[in-house]
Symmetry: C5
Subunit: 98 residues, 5 copies
């Protein structure tokens, strides 16, 4: 999986029929140190994530292993909201608590 930050939403009225009801989020890739990268993906949301949250994205056939994406033409899914990660003992991200 890679790490990303949800930076926005995407609306697509005309789409393959089985995709009705899926929420599509624009996810900017993050480096291992939590810096923005140029890359992005549009992913379906399987966990009720919102704009601004840092998430994990699974790609390929693994993106279809949720009840929301099963048997659908979808190759990227948000499958977790990240609380924190660390690299070499340094915390790189900590989800803010409300």
């Amino acid at each position: 999986m890679f790490l990303g930050r949800i930076v926005g939403t995407l609306v697509a009225t005309r789409k393959e029929a089985t995709l009705d009801g899926l929420r599509f989020m624009v996810v900017r890739r993050l480096s291992i140190d939590n810096d923005d990268e140029a890359g992005y993906v549009v992913a379906a949301d399987a966990v009720g994530a919102g704009v601004g949250e840092v998430v994990m994205v699974a790609s390929g056939s693994s993106a279809r292993q949720t009840v929301y994406t099963d048997k659908r033409p979808c190759d990227a899914v948000i499958m977790a909201i990240v609380d924190t990660w660390e690299v070499d003992g340094v915390e790189k991200y900590q989800k803010s608590t409300p």
Copy 2:
């Protein structure tokens, strides 16, 4: 999924038999900010998209999860026509209304 703009069509008379009837579109990749990128893909069309439209493309085995592409040697499918997306609160694309 990634975002792209359909820039043209492709004709291939001689092809694997199960591909008969599929429409192949040349899709240029777009950056998260809606700028043209060098990358492209040739994708089958599952939603009746036309040249000039901005679309979402699913790749890999997920590209076969439509009635048009099921069990066919096709690794990219246009599965949605994009109306709009935004990044950090800024609208990056808005489909023009006729």
Copy 3:
């Protein structure tokens, strides 16, 4: 799918048993404008293509969706010979007629 030009053939006598009889072609990637790129792939041929022809290549599990490649350890297949494609109204390639 990506576009490529068949630049040569590859011979491999010792190979996984199920691959017997497959023809392996060296395919150089082409840009969207029909320029040579550094990238390449070795692909199985499912359409009787020959050296010099411009073709479409499907990758991953989609490469196994032909009678020639089904259930075989093959991740790239030539599934169409390209006649022509265009980009923004400009024809980028036209197969020469004999």
Copy 4:
């Protein structure tokens, strides 16, 4: 598979239900010569690996071929802890013995 070093752990309380119990590790990619690379992946652990260890990671649908990851939205798994590898007769890594 690619080679990587486990540099940290990741916590995600809110995640797709089937992922409960999986341990997620942040894995930095290593070059063929055992140098750190910029790339990384977050992988599920199938072998009881710990921070600091050098491991092999399998990606895509292959990442789901373990009892921990079967049918789950997970596209990267640590499937082996590396003892040693060599390149052109030179040992590039040797796991230290306790």
Copy 5:
């Protein structure tokens, strides 16, 4: 498939149980012209290849289509030993005969 040269072996005592008995080879990627590239992959061997040999590697789910790798967490397999290939009429590699 891509072309590579086997540059070494890898030992991993602790690994996912189904991988027991597989031989893991370090494969350096080769360019279309048979030059070394920086990229590499660790691949399971399905054809009895040895260090120094030039081989073809299949990736992803296609890597599991051999008796050695079926249903195992393995995303790259050596499925052929290359005898020769040519590019634009020029032989780029010829296996030496003993």
